[in-house]
């Protein structure tokens, strides 16, 4: 596959050791592009979480999965043949 003109400078062989084909370029683009994109996304997510107060009041955070109907202190799962009331 021939390289587009604008990639000529990148893909033109200068020496045997430095030769980069268009396929090599795409592999590097995929690898480095994804590292930058996803690394950046992780940093943005962390910054958003800090700004949004997600890392404040850990005590309250740990209790968000409970509510008045399934409060702290209530077991919510058991074998079907185990009875509390001897049924």
């Amino acid at each position: 596959m021939s390289a587009p003109r604008f990639l000529g400078a990148l893909t033109r062989p200068r020496s045997k050791a430095l030769r980069m084909t268009i396929d090599d370029f795409i592999v590097y683009a995929v690898l480095f592009g994804s590292v930058v994109f996803f690394g950046g996304a992780a940093v943005l997510a962390l910054a958003w979480a800090v700004r949004d107060g997600q890392f404040q009041n850990f005590e309250r955070s740990s209790r968000t999965i409970f509510d008045p109907h399934e409060p702290v202190g209530q077991l919510t799962d058991r074998f079907p043949d185990i009875r509390r009331d001897g049924e």
Binding site: M1, I22, E59, D67, T76, F79, P80, R84
Partner: protein, 504 residues
């Protein structure tokens, strides 16, 4: 009734109703993905038995049928359980938990069903493709590249749905489980697309334009392969498994997680270190030395999130271990959490060069991989299924005895598997580095351990059949109907749990 009492009752009813509505909205898509996972588990288990038995008895059952030879059956087993069972269950458990934690009813449920159909078409084409000889010699990407568009589309739909649900959430706080699930849904499509593009290349014609580039070759291909493989475990199965444990353990025993701070540290440390670890599978191979060293450092740094998770789960359970007797979910999830700690610590030390010198390229690695994917991940998925399905169908499990059989068969099975192959693999490794021992003698020496593995596989497969029977019975209406919004313990448990009142 006093004003306070009435408000309390109203609050309870409101939350109960909200949860019932959320569960009802999740019912069909979650059950479709769970059933998909169970079917692939049965297919994968059958293929695993074939592969295991053929490794020590190659003449057993149709030795001349090419599509039942070890090479094909083993790759088909891997794809069935890794991409069929594990992915389907990851998606089922994730979508239900996302709705629960976001406190919002499921949006676009049909989209998730379409994704399941697309995913399963890809899986059928891929597994049949491997068996009839179109498999690729790329670990974890054994299926023919033609299935990639199906899997990417299916996964892409689920990832997009996850983002939409997150944006639609009513609960402003992001619980640690959501961090793990969001991370997994963000990482996995990236991993898969990058690995497929780099390893298999691309050659498509779109709107008259031909887009093509060749796959990477040599070292780049191998490193991409192991970067992908290891990250499927670390950035997909691990976040889903650990995140699920972070929801189910506190929820089942009714106790907040011991240290929320540690749980957050664990997530971000996983995000930071795990993607470095994959290259330790190529130690001793022709990769740059810095790459192996960086990978070993990343692997050892993983001890930080692992210690955070292990400490947190243990301290949350402290004083509540007696609940293991009563809760099927807890029994499986705690087993999985313990296996997570074990496999992660083992994996960190396994990455060291001196350790790899013996254990690498032996059955020891196979034992390690199964402790992770089965002992940790699959066991947590079993536990999650026991928690989720009754809440979706409104029916109790048909038999507690069958659940206990399932647990003990799978727990004993994976323990036997791990112990036998670890011992056999270690001896195999010691023998392989001794040039005076003939290779065929080493191969013969592994046979007893491989036979133990087949026995372990039979135990686990029987467990899977029991599990599948329970799921089918529940979905088809066998089992007592439940009344009330929680659908599982509503009628029997008062607001404060009293273990002394239980009778077995």
């Amino acid at each position: 009734m006093t004003e306070v009492g009435r408000n309390g009752t109203d609050d309870k009813a409101r939350y109960a109703l909200e949860r019932a509505r959320i569960d009802a909205s999740c019912r069909l898509p979650t059950l479709v993905w769970i059933c998909s996972g169970v079917i692939w588990l049965l297919i994968g288990s059958t293929l695993a038995l074939f592969a295991s038995i053929k490794l020590h008895s190659p003449e057993w059952l149709f030795p001349d049928v090419s599509w039942l030879t070890f090479g094909r059956v083993r790759a088909a087993h891997l794809s069935s359980v890794a991409l069929g069972w594990s992915f389907s269950m990851a998606i089922a458990v994730s979508i239900w938990q996302m709705c629960r934690l976001a406190r919002c009813e499921m949006i676009y449920p049909k989209m998730l069903i379409v994704a399941a159909v697309i995913w399963n078409i890809g899986m059928v084409v891929g597994v049949v493709g491997i068996l009839i000889g179109y498999g690729q010699s790329v670990e974890w990407l054994d299926m023919p590249p033609v299935v990639a568009p199906f899997l990417v589309t299916g996964l892409g739909i689920v990832a997009a749905w996850t983002v939409a649900t997150f944006r639609n959430r009513r609960e402003p706080h992001v619980y640690v489980t959501q961090w793990y699930l969001l991370g997994a849904m963000f990482w996995m499509p990236w991993l898969y697309v990058t690995a497929v593009l780099v390893i298999f290349g691309l050659d498509i014609t779109l709107l008259g334009m031909n887009l093509r580039f060749s796959p990477a070759t040599g070292v780049v291909q191998a490193t991409t392969n192991w970067w992908f493989n290891h990250n499927v475990l670390g950035l997909w199965l691990t976040p889903v498994g650990v995140g699920t444990a972070y929801y189910l353990i506190p929820k089942v025993i009714g106790r907040p997680v011991y240290s929320y701070y540690l749980s957050v540290i664990g997530f971000w440390a996983l995000a930071l270190f795990y993607s470095w670890a994959g290259m330790h599978h190529l130690i001793g191979g022709p990769i740059p030395a810095w790459m192996a060293s960086a990978s070993i450092v990343g692997s050892m740094m993983m001890l930080i999130p692992v210690a955070a998770v292990a400490l947190n789960h243990h301290m949350t359970m402290r004083g509540h271990f007696h609940h293991l007797r009563y809760s099927p979910t807890l029994r499986f999830v705690v087993f999985g959490a313990i296996a997570y700690t074990a496999v992660s610590v083992q994996g960190a030390f396994e990455s060291l060069k001196s350790f790899s010198e013996i254990a690498h390229f032996t059955h020891y690695t196979v034992a390690h991989a199964h402790l992770g994917v089965y002992g940790f991940y699959a066991m947590i998925m079993f536990g999650a299924t026991y928690y989720i399905v009754p809440r979706l169908t409104g029916r109790e499990w048909a038999s507690g005895r069958m659940i206990r059989w399932h647990f003990w068969l799978t727990a004993i099975g994976i323990t036997l598997y791990f112990v036998s192959l670890s011992i056999g693999g270690w001896y195999q490794g010691l023998a392989l580095i001794d040039a005076n021992i003939p290779f065929i003698r080493i191969v013969r020496g592994t046979v007893p351990y491989l036979m133990s593995r087949s026995v372990a596989g039979i135990l686990m497969t029987i467990g899977h059949v029991i599990f599948a029977t329970l799921v089918v019975m529940n979905v088809c209406g066998f089992g007592r109907s439940r009344s009330g919004p929680t659908l599982f313990v509503e009628k029997r448990v008062t607001s404060v749990y009293e273990p002394a009142a239980l009778s077995v």
